[in-house]
């Protein structure tokens, strides 16, 4: 118990100087999958940056892409502020089109921010998570995973060094994904360095996470309308969505975030949690020497 207390104090002290880089494909994914943990780190004193890769221009119900992109950018920045994120960078790729973007180009743009910010922790979409329909998340996760490695090697992008962007190895890495993958809790091989499943308590940050998710009004409205339409097409109704207004959508988002936290907490002893695959410094030491 004492040891745990000391460990928490030490982690809290470390967090004061901690720099956290969050990479997300779209406005909502990191909020729903990792928002509570990120908010907790920010509340403990960490400096957090967010790189949002696409412009979310497709994710609205009845707005053209340009207006959708403008609104989702504003709302994404609002959600990030609620979580305590200090800086938001939008790379501006068109949503749903990352399959046609050079992976090396995307990697190098992400590497730029790894070298300039020099984070101690990175959060990236898990490219190995299955049944994640939005492939932008897969492409972003893959590029981000490569960027972390490439940022530490001088022979990648030598011109970066000429403008002061020296190599940097980020020691801690969290792979996040919403709980689509039925095998997400299976441990990876422990024979060598491998990210392992890890759940973190987010109960103290749950209210903040709900608030941040609710700030994404355009994508939430589109989600509510899709659900309503699907139910209507099949002769059903959800009383909550009889009128799709801000209150109803806000309530729907709250139900979603609370349930995701409950799913994350199953079997952990927490009341609300988020699930990751975590590659910390200890996993860079072969198991037999740990």
């Amino acid at each position: 118990m004492k040891l745990r207390l000391l460990l928490c104090m030490a982690m809290s002290l470390l967090a004061q100087d901690q720099k956290v880089l969050v990479i997300t494909a779209d406005a909502s994914d990191y909020v729903l999958a990792a928002g509570g943990t990120i908010a907790g780190m920010a509340a403990s004193g960490a400096t957090v940056w967010l790189v949002r890769v696409t412009n979310d221009d497709k994710d609205s119900w009845d707005l053209p892409p340009e207006e959708t992109a403008r609104r989702t950018r504003e709302e994404s920045e609002r959600a990030a502020r609620i979580l305590g994120i200090g800086k938001v960078v939008s790379l501006g790729y068109r949503a749903g089109e990352l399959g046609g973007v050079s992976p090396t180009e995307l990697r190098d743009r992400l590497m730029f921010y790894v070298r300039s910010f020099k984070p101690g922790v990175m959060f990236i979409p898990n490219p190995y998570a299955e049944y994640v329909e939005v492939l932008d998340r897969y492409y972003t996760g893959q590029a981000a995973e490569e960027a972390r490695r490439a940022a530490s090697l001088a022979n990648f992008q030598p011109p970066f060094a000429s403008v002061g962007l020296e190599t940097h190895l980020t020691p801690e890495l969290y792979y996040y994904a919403q709980p689509f993958d039925p095998r997400r809790r299976e441990a990876e091989s422990t024979a060598t360095f491998a990210p392992q499943p890890k759940a973190l308590d987010i109960a103290p940050m749950l209210a903040k996470k709900i608030q941040a998710a609710q700030a994404l009004k355009t994508v939430n409205h589109a989600l509510a309308m899709r659900i309503q339409q699907r139910l209507q097409e099949t002769g059903r109704r959800l009383p909550l969505l009889d009128r799709v207004d801000d209150d109803a959508v806000g309530k729907l988002v709250e139900i979603n975030v609370r349930k995701l936290a409950e799913i994350g907490a199953q079997g952990t002893g927490y009341s609300a949690a988020e699930e990751f695959h975590y590659a910390g410094v200890e996993y860079q030491i072969p198991a037999k020497y740990r």
Partner: protein, 305 residues
């Protein structure tokens, strides 16, 4: 009913138990999106399920993505034409209304831009508005076939992106409307293990299995091989064995019998594993697959109008 089936599917996935039997979802149209002319058959194909859907009054369309020029010994041009003709005949056994051939080059799909194929599939989804799509599992492992992988990826994106009005808005100018596919039946070349993890079984009746066997055999360009039947019977003879059902048959007839048995045997095997006479298995994703945090709430609170 569907709520109970979904709960059973999630429990079965977790426990690795006998799979729950999945009813055909209510609907009118199914789109089968596969790389090759005969992918609806084989031990991993869902030909019986297609037959069951057409029995349930579904209109079924089969999208053959490649031109199948490499499959068969008749040369590229002939293989393309023969395999398409046989695919049309084979899928008629299953009740398929139309074969839509996209004619991408067989075994060369790795080099095709994903978004280009995806755009074609989005247009077809918006045109036919299927309640069910049957395709390769985009998350399947160890499928060595580049065509299967590319088709799986493109279909996996098209099924939900077709529902977004800002994706290919030019389609809407033709009168098409966005349409998100609610039910997905995914399959995979390798049957079990981490490569493909089925979570549902579809029970088949005798007629549906027979039609699947007939469809399999209808791909004569790649199935017709009397020499194989002859060799098998010689091998059995040498060991003093015989298969009575093959006695008196010509090599051609024995070839047909053996090929059809393959389909009947695998359907019986899957049935036995899942407590019924015949079955196929798939990875089923439901209409609320994109909102794991809302699924229980919607299923528990939605009311009939």
């Amino acid at each position: 009913m569907i709520h109970r089936v979904l709960a059973a599917i999630f429990l079965a996935s977790a426990a690795g138990a006998q799979l729950p039997l999945l009813p055909i979802p209510p609907g009118k149209t199914a789109l089968v999106i596969l790389a090759h002319h005969d992918d609806h058959t084989w031990q991993y194909g869902l030909g019986g399920t297609i037959a069951k859907m057409s029995d349930a009054a579904y209109t079924v369309y089969f999208v053959r993505v490649t031109n199948d020029e490499k499959d068969g010994g008749a040369g590229w041009g002939n293989n393309d034409q023969t395999n398409l003709r046989e695919a049309i005949a084979a899928t008629r056994f299953l009740g398929v209304k139309e074969v839509l051939s996209l004619n991408w080059r067989n075994d060369h799909m790795d080099s095709i831009p994903l978004n280009e194929l995806r755009a074609q599939l989005i247009l077809l989804i918006r045109k036919h508005r299927p309640e069910v799509v049957i395709s390769w599992n985009p998350w399947g492992h160890y499928d060595r076939n580049p065509d299967h992988r590319k088709v799986a990826r493109a279909a996996g994106e098209a099924v939900w992106m077709a529902g977004l009005a800002n994706i290919h808005p030019e389609h809407l100018e033709t009168g098409l409307a966005p349409h998100r596919v609610p039910h997905l039946f995914y399959t995979q070349r390798n049957d079990y293990g981490k490569g493909h993890d089925p979570n549902a079984a579809i029970e088949l009746d005798d007629g549906q299995v027979q039609r699947k066997a007939g469809a399999y055999w209808a791909h004569a360009n790649v199935r017709y091989n009397p020499a194989a039947a002859r060799a098998l019977r010689r091998q059995l003879d040498a060991q003093g064995l015989t298969i009575p059902e093959l006695d008196g048959l010509t090599d051609e007839q024995a070839n047909e019998k053996l090929e059809k048995w393959h389909m009947i045997w695998i359907s019986a095997q899957r049935g036995k594993e899942n407590g019924v006479k015949y079955a196929e298995v798939c990875r089923y994703l439901d209409e609320w697959r994109d909102v794991p945090g809302l699924r229980d709430y919607i299923l528990g609170s939605a009311e009939k109008k």
